[in-house]
């Protein structure tokens, strides 16, 4: 009987040092894939390898041997003995394997639930399998269900809905204030990893100009080059506040460098065009009262963290919804798999009947030489439709059993009733 198996490891089961050993680059991946394809007992296969996970998904009729071979293969590639490798792996069979691949595709098994890259990676993995003709009836359907489910989860739940990194949350806020960021000006005061990341995101959103200032001018020039912006001296800051729209502050100054009165003054000059301060510094660079001024918005690091915490919570709640959708889809797929199991029996049944009626037809017709072609045709049609109609009910019955349980019993009975397994009892009679 055909089984679906998934053997793999992810960020939860294996440390990064081990995952590294098994993360295949583009060329390695093709080679590895051919090695897997070559394993005896594996029928269909797919290899997914990202920095957070390695998954080998395959179908087999000899589950035990296939699993051993795959583990040996992984052990061989990583250079870790099978005994040591075994505890770092998970092995899922049938329903569990289906569920697992659904969850992986829908980004429910990711380190950051809802992250969007994984679906693309799964699609790539599938494409390679298709190119190498190692995906057939079962994996084709399984992967297509995975993709459509992932898409549905993405649109119908909010697992990917909201920003979960500080810089990204800041850019999202900027968009809610300014709408399109095209043509907006950004001023970066000070430097730091988070500030630079936020600046990069803003650049990706087509802001028009990036000004950089720093207590040390040379550092400002350096950063300006990095962002294709221009450096200004620290004393120019106030006059530039009239021109830019988004200000990222990230200096080590113990005192606020942007004051309430200063911003109030500036807003008059700006004719109240909105101003957005992203204050990543600790202690804060912008006086908190500045947020009270109309059309001015100040977010400090704690505010941004608060938003992210909320968003992470929201994603988790949405993930529950997604899990339910996965459950449903697993049931549907398993039902389809069971109908697949009755297909060989039905086909054999049809073939056997076809043989019988062809044989009988020949015998009968050879006795009636002077029949007209129409009459011969009529007899043929009759024989054909009798077999077809006789078979109809048993086939419908078996297919129906495919969607429920107790299928094996009825398959067995059907095979015995129609003697499909070629016993020699015929001659005993």
């Amino acid at each position: 009987m055909i089984r679906i198996v998934d053997i793999g490891m992810n960020h939860e089961t294996a440390p990064v040092e081990v995952r590294e050993l098994l993360s295949f680059g583009k060329q390695d991946r093709d080679m590895a894939f051919h090695d897997i394809q070559a394993i005896k007992n594996i029928k269909e296969s797919l290899l997914l390898s990202t920095c957070n996970r390695v998954e080998i998904l395959f179908t087999t009729e000899r589950e035990k041997e296939a699993k051993e071979s795959v583990i040996t293969f992984l052990s061989h590639v990583s250079g870790i003995a099978p005994g040591e490798l075994r505890p770092l792996l998970y092995i899922y069979n049938d329903q569990e394997a289906i569920r697992h691949i659904f969850r992986v595709g829908a980004s429910l098994d990711s380190m950051m639930v809802g992250e969007p890259q994984i679906l693309g990676q799964v699609k790539d993995a599938y494409r390679i399998a298709v190119d190498n003709k190692s995906s057939s009836v079962i994996l084709n359907r399984l992967m297509h269900r995975t993709f459509s489910l992932a898409k549905r989860i993405r649109t119908e739940t909010g697992i990917a809905g909201s920003a979960v990194s500080i810089s990204f949350a800041a850019v999202e806020l900027a968009k809610k204030i300014f709408g399109d960021l095209t043509g907006k000006g950004v001023l970066l005061i000070g430097a730091g990893e988070m500030a630079e990341l936020a600046a990069t995101y803003l650049l990706n959103n087509n802001v028009a100009q990036m000004l950089v200032t720093n207590r040390t001018f040379s550092r400002a020039v350096e950063l300006a080059e990095q962002f294709q912006g221009s450096a200004i001296s620290f004393d120019e800051t106030e006059s530039q506040l009239l021109r830019v729209d988004i200000i990222i502050t990230s200096t080590a100054s113990p005192e606020p460098i942007i004051s309430f009165d200063q911003v109030r003054r500036i807003m008059k000059g700006r004719k109240n065009r909105p101003l957005f301060f992203i204050d990543i510094a600790v202690p804060r660079n912008v006086e908190s009262r500045v947020n009270e001024i109309g059309n001015v918005f100040v977010y400090d690091i704690d505010d941004l963290k608060g938003i992210i915490d909320d968003n992470v919570g929201k994603r988790q709640a949405e993930a529950m919804k997604a899990e339910r959708m996965v459950d449903e889809e697993v049931l549907k797929f398993s039902a389809w798999l069971r109908t697949l199991k009755v297909v060989p029996t039905i086909r054999e049944l049809q073939e056997k009947c076809e043989r019988i009626y062809q044989g009988e037809l020949q015998k009968t017709l050879s006795g009636f030489k002077d029949l007209t072609p129409e009459q011969r045709n009529g007899v043929e049609m009759m024989a054909k439709s009798i077999t077809k109609k006789l078979l109809n009910d048993p086939i419908v019955f078996l297919k129906g059993k495919g969607e429920k349980g107790s299928q094996d019993l009825y398959l067995d009975i059907a095979r015995k009733l129609f003697n499909l397994d070629g016993d020699t009892r015929e001659g005993d009679e």
């Binding site: 806020l173 004719k271 918005f297």
Partner: protein, 279 residues
């Protein structure tokens, strides 16, 4: 209004409203797009039905409270279509849809009264006066809705509590921009409506201005929006203040539209318009 057309229009508006509510709740873009199309269809039917009524009545279909509610509903949907077309803010429909339905249902509950169309209502200027004024009102409804949306969105961003509306409402910039455009065009139409109205009055009563309550309140409304527009353009008001004032002006406008016609006496009151003798 022709009852078949009225019911068809109302059904389409209802369907669109249901879709728009689903759209804002579930954030299902497809539902929003379809609701918009349904609303467009409803609007087309509504327009045809108003034209038919105009043809049969020989006067603008806004002389009774019943018909002017339906006409106002038409004007709001028209304003929505213009702003949705210009700014692409489908979520506006989630506010406009229910409003248009409420007005239509309200209109349908008022019994039909026989309207005697006096000769002075039969000119070409009166329809222009009524249409321009009501369309202006419809656009001010959009300004008010955008103002409410702005206040909600701004409050969420200022207080740093990003609730359910944060993702659903458009950016502050777009809302403020709608505010500006709506006030400008609404003001223009209201001005046209009032000027034409005074010309009609000159023809009918021999005087441009009679200190009728409707005239006085219209002038107040006009002044309110004029101040807002001035503050925006000359002083640089924007955002919250402008939104608040657009909402404030709208209250005066509603009183001018409903309160004056229903509570006060004058030649603009529906009793008078419907042809009943003034006490």
């Amino acid at each position: 209004m022709d009852i078949v057309f009225f019911r068809l229009t109302l059904s389409l508006y209802l369907a669109a409203t249901a879709g728009f509510l689903y759209f804002i709740l579930k954030r299902n873009k497809k539902a929003g797009l379809w609701s918009h199309r349904i609303l467009l269809l409803g609007f087309a039917l509504h327009t045809v039905s108003l034209l038919i009524e105009y043809y049969h009545l020989g006067a603008v279909p806004g002389l009774s409270f019943k018909s002017s509610l339906a006409f106002f509903s038409w004007a709001i949907v028209a304003a929505y279509i213009i702003f949705q077309w210009k700014f692409g803010i489908l979520v506006l429909g989630s506010f406009v849809g229910p409003l248009s339905v409420i007005l239509m249902i309200f209109s349908s509950t008022i019994p039909i009264s026989a309207v005697t169309v006096r000769p002075i209502f039969k000119g070409l200027l009166l329809p222009v006066h009524v249409t321009a004024s009501l369309l202006g009102d419809g656009i001010f409804v959009i300004a008010c809705i955008a103002g409410i949306m702005y206040l909600i969105q701004e409050r969420q961003i200022k207080t740093k509590r990003l609730g359910a509306f944060y993702a659903r409402l458009p950016s502050l910039n777009i809302l403020d921009s709608i505010n500006y455009h709506a006030i400008s065009y609404g003001f223009l139409l209201l001005s046209i409506g009032m000027i034409i109205g005074s010309i009609v009055a000159q023809g009918a009563h021999g005087t441009y201005w009679r200190w009728d309550p409707k005239e006085v309140w219209s002038l107040l409304t006009w002044l309110c929006y004029a101040v807002l527009l001035h503050q925006r353009m000359a002083v640089g008001w924007r955002g919250r203040r402008s939104a608040l004032m657009a909402i404030g002006c709208f209250f005066i406008l509603i009183f001018t539209f409903l309160g004056v016609n229903l509570l006060m006496e004058g030649y603009h009151s529906f009793e008078s318009l419907e042809g009943k003798p003034l006490p």
